[in-house]
Symmetry: C2
Subunit: 691 residues, 2 copies
């Protein structure tokens, strides 16, 4: 069983890597730019759709507003990026928004930011895989209806890839992004020319009418109209997630890091802005309609639209319109989109575990999240992210329009707090700076961050205003829960730290005055003898065997057998009128501790070690119960004296074989002579002669 699981893990994850392989090669700009752009660029796959379908509730006329919503998103993205370029200068360490908020506002703000980012990373994975599933179905309509399953598989595949760890193939991963940008540029350029010359392919959907929802009979007017436009903007702002990527990854860049990060931010911003504006205007020119439920909301000449109409995503419809219906370029663009969405999800699988390990390091999350797995990734964090994203995808059945309502909230919470933190940072810095030139630079940065703060706070307000009831409350709730969990964990660790801190060296070096060894006896067999031998070898001040009298007959038999052994160890019978094994023992131990409070009680428990789980079922249940209970008694050491049954030896032999088979670990995994890179014994071992 064990060795089977181990073999399975090896097959899935691969051979373990040595720790010294940790430092990743720094990324040159040409790799970092595409990889870090994948997240914002991938939103081109779904943001146009969501903007248009949000506006479509107000009828056909409202669609004319769509390109301008795109422009607004792009402009605001650029402004935020300008502001972030200042943050990078001040925090080139890679701690990102979490570090900025923690340092400048306080630890609470820090964990709010962290919680918000973690929720959004989960959503990035869920949204990217769901959107990818949408594109796969657009290319292979036979798969229609299994969006949830496809997206779920996507999450599992991303999890496994990341458990296998460090891509040596970052170059490979960057290619689809570059090709995707190239394809979009071609699409926009060719599309613009054909639009200008009036030779765009006319799509079936261009003939459809859009039924406005109740209350929108006169289009986008009044307060309701404003609300719809704002909501379209807020969904479109999904394009802004991931622009903080370069800041959280400064440490992974080639030197000069900060300058490279700033350059990447700028290039990323302009590329994304240009492409999104281009796509939105092209979509308008091609007269594309997208609604939440086409058969419900669209009409053809007043009647229903054709039964077999399938609504492709905007990018797909554009490919049809620009390159001709069912051109192979449609499939090229589709595949590239799926790959870019996968890369975006993949990057979240890098960011989430890194952030989690940072939080674990600061004591806000369980320490297990700091543990690097066999392949040097933070495997527990990867598993946590995969599981959370899978839950979301399954619960929402990969329904993009619902998922998107939860999205972006977290990012903007973190943006806003981070900008606030930067303002404080510059304020403090200004007070401590004398040089005029420097103060001028600070003033400039301050203004940029202030603009950033105002914008991000406004967007956050808009997002909450327009979507709180549509699903954003769920994101807020998740952030709140995560915050509380991290807060409690921190409190707990702090509390433990206070309890466990060594404050008085003198006291702590004191030894217990005497040691009482107690040996738990049930039937007189070899394991008991081994326990007795172990206890006697520790030369206790007092030694005693204990038998709990659960059953007269067997107690009598035990006593007789004990007598025959003729050991220099007295046996004591503990009465147990209720046939209970644990409390007579704890009661006896307490009576000893009451008489000799400075003594130590060591309880020796003989145990059988078996090789199969079903053997475990028929042994040791009582021993386990007693051990668990004794852990709660102060001044008691619980010494398990295991007896390895034949079957256990077979198991461990198998296990050792499996370990020896590992190629890399043919160098004994954990040699006693320290590896060159590891520190060796600092203190020369010396024999200790008693106390």
């Amino acid at each position: 069983m064990l060795s089977f699981l181990d073999a399975l893990k090896r097959a899935v994850v691969g051979q373990p890597f040595m720790t010294r392989r940790i430092p990743d090669k720094p990324m040159p700009k040409r790799l970092a730019l595409p990889l870090l752009s994948a997240n914002p660029l991938s939103s081109m796959a779904y943001a146009p759709d969501e903007i248009i379908l949000t506006l479509a509730v107000a009828g056909l006329a409202a669609l004319h507003v769509a390109p301008w919503v795109g422009v607004a998103v792009a402009v605001i993205m650029l402004l935020i990026i300008l502001s972030y370029r200042e943050s990078v200068k001040a925090y080139p360490s890679g701690g990102g928004d979490y570090e900025i908020a923690k340092t400048n506002i306080g630890p609470r703000a820090g964990i709010i930011v962290a919680a918000a980012l973690m929720v959004d990373f989960v959503l990035t994975v869920a949204v990217s895989t769901s959107s990818a599933a949408h594109y796969i179905i657009a290319m292979f309509p036979a798969l229609a209806g299994s969006q949830g399953i496809i997206a779920g598989c996507g999450v599992v595949i991303l999890t496994l890839i990341n458990l296998r760890g460090r891509g040596k193939n970052r170059t490979l991963a960057s290619i689809p992004v570059i090709l995707f940008v190239a394809a979009l540029v071609v699409l926009i350029v060719v599309g613009s020319i054909r639009a200008a010359t009036g030779t765009l392919e006319r799509l079936a959907s261009a003939d459809f009418e859009v039924l406005p929802e109740a209350g929108f009979d006169s289009g986008l007017t009044g307060l309701l109209g404003v609300l719809v436009v704002l909501r379209a903007f807020s969904t479109g702002s999904a394009a802004m997630t991931g622009i903080e990527g370069p800041i959280s990854n400064v440490h992974a860049l080639k030197a000069p890091r900060a300058r490279n990060a700033r350059a990447i931010l700028l290039m990323l911003g302009f590329t994304a802005a240009a492409i999104s504006i281009g796509l939105m205007f092209l979509a308008r020119a091609a007269d594309i309609r997208v609604t939440e439920d086409p058969h419900q909301n669209l009409r053809l000449n007043g009647g229903p639209i054709p039964e077999n109409y399938v609504q492709d995503p905007v990018l797909g419809q554009l490919a049809h319109a620009v390159f001709g219906l069912n051109s192979p370029l449609f499939y090229v663009l589709g595949v590239l989109t799926v790959l870019v969405l996968a890369t975006a999800g993949h990057m979240a699988f890098r960011s989430f575990p890194n952030l989690a390990s940072l939080l674990a390091h600061d004591g806000y999350l369980p320490r297990q999240l700091r543990r690097r797995g066999d392949r040097l990734g933070y495997s527990n964090g990867i598993l946590a992210l995969g599981l959370a994203a899978l839950c979301l995808v399954v619960v929402f059945q990969a329904h993009l329009t619902s998922l998107i309502q939860l999205y972006v909230v977290g990012v903007f919470v973190s943006f806003t707090l981070s900008q606030l933190g930067m303002l404080r940072h510059w304020g403090r810095k200004a007070r401590n700076t004398a040089s005029k030139a420097a103060r001028l630079r600070i003033a400039r940065a301050r203004i940029l961050n202030l603009v950033g703060l105002i914008i991000t706070a406004t967007v956050l307000f808009v997002v909450l205003l327009t979507r709180l009831t549509l699903g954003a409350w769920l994101a807020i709730a998740a952030i709140a829960v995560l915050y509380l969990v991290m807060h409690s964990i921190h409190e707990h660790y702090e509390q433990v730290e206070r309890e466990l801190k060594i404050d008085d060296l003198q006291y702590s070096r004191a030894l217990p005055s005497r040691v009482h060894a107690l040996i738990l006896v049930s039937s007189i067999r070899k394991p008991v003898l081994r326990a007795v031998a172990s206890a006697r070898a520790s030369r206790p001040s007092r030694i005693e065997a204990l038998v709990v009298d659960v059953d007269n007959v067997s107690t009598e038999r035990t006593l007789q057998a004990w007598d025959k052994l003729d050991l220099p160890v007295p046996i004591r019978v503990l009465a147990s009128p209720y046939r209970e094994t644990t409390s007579p023992i704890t009661d006896y131990i307490r009576s000893i501790r009451a008489r000799y409070p400075r003594d130590l009680v060591v309880v020796y428990i003989p145990e059988y070690v078996v090789g199969h789980w079903w053997e475990q079922l028929v042994h040791n249940q009582t021993a386990l119960r007693i051990k668990t209970r004794l852990h709660f008694e102060p001044g008691v050491v619980v010494a398990s004296v295991p007896w390895q049954l034949q079957s256990s030896r077979e198991l461990i032999a198998q296990y050792d074989d499996a370990a020896a088979d590992s190629a890399e670990s043919s160098v004994s995994a954990g040699s006693i002579t320290p590896a060159p890179s590891a520190p060796s014994s600092k203190i020369p071992p010396k024999e200790s002669h008693g106390s």
Copy 2:
């Protein structure tokens, strides 16, 4: 959490009972007869129905055979009882068929019998509760359709009652059985008079025609006809389950036990036989029809029967016919039937755990089944039976006609093997007996058991022949699986026994030559100091602290902190190129063991003890893994040095409070001074001065 579960258990099960309350008062005949008759008598509730509906496939004419099938069942039951009366003489110990088969044929036959009986006990509970549900619905037609839920609740209630344990109210339990018999006698007597005078109420169903199934157009003729009659007989033989009850319960009877058991057997046999024959003839006189699906198989004047016709069980229809339609006596009889069925199920809850504990004692089932619960019942056996019966009831949706196909197989397997065992027993006895009178008595017993063997083997053959494909295969499969499980467990225990038997006293008294104490260190806090103190107190030959170098930075910090403590204990760094904690430690231990094979290695592991499960999640994961793995290393003692954090102390205080609250356990549960009935220390404790 813990204390909440404990409180829940107390509420459900009640306060624990003292062991000295074990010996139950012996049962006088007037209680034993009704209680032990409950199982065979309860089958009057469903056996007539099953006989009639089995015959009904051959059409109306076939129903005339029904009374004679009843007579056959009654006669064979009496013959088996006569044979059993001989078995009781020879085995008055209460081991029942299991003991007889084991002693006279061999252990394998013994566990076949045991497996067969256990399967049938499960079926007794399932069939009784399902039939009771049927009667409850007959009385409250509004409940129609929820037979499964009612029966399931019945199983749960019986389980809880038996977990609460020993009825002090055996007298109370015997009353419904006596009343039930009285009611049936009245029913038969009054019914016979009214039948003779032609004043029986004419039931609606008497006008119905019975549609024969395909192939039975000419009634019960040919081989097929014989098969149907045999099948009716084999379903009717459900009435014979439980007649082995008096033999398995001899030990609980008042002296003279064997003679009382024999008397009970005889009275039980005649009562059951007389009543079943009476009921079957009365059912014929009242012209009662019962079919599996009345709306399908019955016709009224060639057309369908009324929509709202509900098919009552035979007993219910008889009550209507004899006492008048909807007479209150119908409800009296219904309630009594439900109570008797419940008593029958209840008796299975006594027998199954007793048998299981006997098997556990002989090493065929896990030892936990021998443990008496708080209320002195074998609670694990009770839970196992309840769970198994619940599964059956849920899977079969309490459908009686399906369940009955699985029934009786087990009983007749056990009857047959038991009779075979008795024949061998008498054979051996005859060879060792000289006195002529005694040999005559033996010869008489031998003949009776031979007749018993022939009959039970024949019935078993008939049961298998007629029902194997209808569901009996499932019972056979269950018996086979149980047999294999018990066989493997026995093999395992035997193997363990061989491995663990103390064969060389001299060797076993030898002490390890030296003790190596290793202290696992991760961060330098109070628990580590306590572990060091514990290790030093045991005055080992060699002491060493170990730190596994998973992470350079923290290792360095640990070494510095250790240095500052200035303890007389050297620290050793174990390299771990793959960031693995366990194997560097086991490798190091193996290197020590290789150099000093006769030495003992004691590994001290500091552990945190916390009060909440979620705190557990953030601590000790590594310690747990290492402990588990170290158990597999020979020559290693694992000493947990627990450090109780504040929260754990609160937990244990709560727990102690809860224990103190228990009324009965206000006498300290487990006082050190032995209770009067328990054996006290056999060997006066003497101080042991080292080795």
